[in-house]
């Protein structure tokens, strides 16, 4: 990213708090024996153990309904773990109070399959909202949004109405909104699910560029054509359990791609 780095105003779940050196040295994300139940006898996640280091890019994959979105929802505290712990920068996010959750989310960039873009807002307004929440001055918001637009390839299109954009462009706006506050971790929940294969590769490349600047990216997808094109770490969820491969399909322990995505 070009331009000056701005220190995030709320790095650690409390207004004004700063991350200490020991906190920065810890893995960005640790899941310890995590269980999530929607039905008492049938856990969606069963004993998930996972460690994600800073700056990693990891695919989260598995068949539809395997628990990919559930896992991500636990990370941004839309859902609570039923058993186990989720540690973000060493802090157990399951123990956060309702008032602290916004400060956790300010450290995360979240991108969805359905974009979650406000159609009657302009591109600028859709991205700026993530900075307005941080009470940033307008001048800084303008320069940061312009930078984000440049990074996602929508340079100079801030005044356009988002309803006029294509699906791929809308997803780029969503990515810009996620990266503009410079979060520590980006959670992408099937971000290419509504895009054609060519645009999907573009969006994946965009996330890889973001990752190359040091931002950790968790990219949930069940699109095996995307997974097979890259050698990123692979975290597969099936029937609530996690199987991992450090270098994509190259060292996948299973019998092939079909065991990954069903």
């Amino acid at each position: 990213m070009q331009g000056t780095k701005v220190v995030r105003p709320f790095p650690f779940f409390r207004a004004g708090a700063r991350a200490s050196q020991p906190q920065l040295a810890k893995p960005i994300l640790v899941l310890e024996d995590v269980y999530k139940f929607f039905r008492p006898d049938e856990p969606t996640l069963r004993g998930v153990n996972l460690k994600v280091e800073r700056g990693e890019f990891a695919f989260i994959t598995g068949p539809s309904g395997a628990g990919k979105s559930t896992l991500l929802k636990l990370l941004y505290r839309e859902l609570m773990v039923d058993e186990g712990r989720v540690l973000f920068c060493g802090r157990d996010i399951g123990r956060l109070t309702d008032k602290s959750i916004p400060f956790l989310r300010r450290n995360l960039g979240i991108v969805f399959q359905d974009f979650r873009i406000i159609d009657h807002w302009t591109v600028f307004e859709n991205i700026a909202v993530a900075l307005e929440i941080l009470s940033m001055p307008q001048r800084l918001i303008r320069s940061r949004v312009a930078e984000a637009l440049e990074r996602v390839g929508l340079n100079g299109r801030g005044d356009e109405q988002t309803s006029n954009l294509s699906g791929g462009e809308k997803q780029r706006v969503a990515v810009a909104r996620a990266i503009v506050p410079e979060p520590a971790l980006i959670l992408a929940d099937e971000p290419t699910g509504n895009l054609d294969p060519h645009l999907a590769i573009d969006i994946l490349t965009l996330f890889e560029e973001i990752n190359s600047t040091g931002t950790t990216v968790l990219f949930a997808t069940h699109d095996h054509s995307l997974i097979s094109k890259r050698d990123h770490r692979l975290i597969s969820i099936d029937e609530g359990r996690v199987v991992e491969a450090r270098q994509g399909l190259k060292d996948w322990p299973g019998s092939g791609i079909h065991t990954l995505v069903g």
Partner: protein, 303 residues
């Protein structure tokens, strides 16, 4: 940057105002309907307050231009009556004293009475002689009562009429009008809270996706609520302002024609709401609007 506390959460007022402006622009049709309905409610309250203000002014005026009638005994000594007149004229509260003989009283009664029967055969003894005492302006009702009590002790006086019972009736009327205004104010308050609450509920429903996006980006409840509270405040203020302006327009266009009739009937002129009253209407409108909106957002904002 200006911050304020809203239910224990920090709200950036400047940012909230910017977003409230956008909300008002986007939901203008909904808000125009709400403001118009509320303006009618405020107009009813304002009209009642205007009635109370004018009744108050009339009562005040009548109360300060007091009159006492001293009915004289049939066998009153003319010297006693003359002495009584001297005493009365010496009082600083008394403006004028007129002696009304039984003949004058009968003539005046026959002139004013319109009962449709010939009452000229009534004997003049039916109409006692009296002293009509006009008090100077500004004499309070209590003072007038105290003068009447003292005058009743004179030997020549058989009875004293200070019109206290009439003023009591006027007081009852005023009390009733004030109660009506208070009841109406309460009703309007509930109306405003209900209408603004429902309008904001609709706005929350229509902007659910916006709210969801903001919360996923890390917005606090205070940040999300802020613009809705300001929008409710604006609706309350705008409704009250519309009502005050409509009342003022009505007052300006009608007061000249009503004034002469009222002056002939009651001796007082039509007055508009006092500055404090309409300021109270405006600030009350804004405050109730904010409360209605905040209650509604608190209840329906569960994203």
């Amino acid at each position: 940057m200006a911050f304020t506390r809203l239910w224990g959460e920090t709200m950036d007022v400047k940012s909230a105002m910017t977003r409230a402006r956008r909300g008002l622009r986007e939901e203008r049709r909904l808000y125009v309907v709400a403001v118009s309905s509320l303006a009618v409610a405020f107009l009813c309250l304002g009209a009642t307050l205007l009635g109370v203000t004018n009744l108050d002014a009339a009562a005040d005026r009548w109360g300060q231009s007091g009159r006492i009638t001293l009915f004289l005994k049939d066998d009153a000594d003319p010297q006693d009556v003359a002495q009584l007149r001297v005493v009365l004229e010496g009082l600083s509260d008394v403006r004028e004293v007129a002696h009304v003989t039984p003949e004058q009283a009968k003539a005046s009664f026959l002139e004013e009475a319109d009962v449709g029967a010939d009452l000229s055969a009534l004997p003049k003894e039916v109409f006692p002689a009296s002293l009509e005492v006009s008090l100077v302006n500004g004499v309070t009702r209590e003072r007038s009562e105290s003068i009447a009590t003292r005058l009743g002790q004179f030997r020549a006086v058989s009875d004293v009429e200070s019109y206290g019972s009439w003023f009591q009736k006027l007081d009852h009327l005023l009390w009733g009008a004030r109660m009506l205004a208070a009841g109406l104010a309460l009703l309007v308050m509930f109306c405003v809270i209900a209408v603004i609450g429902n309008t904001i509920r609709l706005a929350v429903a229509r902007r659910r996706q916006e709210i969801q996006v903001m919360k996923l980006c890390g917005a606090t409840n205070g940040f999300v609520r802020g613009p809705f509270v300001l929008e409710g405040m604006f609706q309350g203020f705008a409704s009250a302002l519309l009502a005050v302006l409509a009342l003022l327009a009505g007052y300006l266009s009608l007061h000249e024609s009503v004034d002469s009739t009222l002056a002939a009937l009651t001796g007082s002129r039509v007055v508009f709401l006092g500055v404090w009253t309409w300021l109270l209407l405006l600030t009350g409108g804004a405050l109730i609007g904010a409360i209605g909106s905040a209650l509604s957002v608190r209840r329906y904002l569960s994203v």
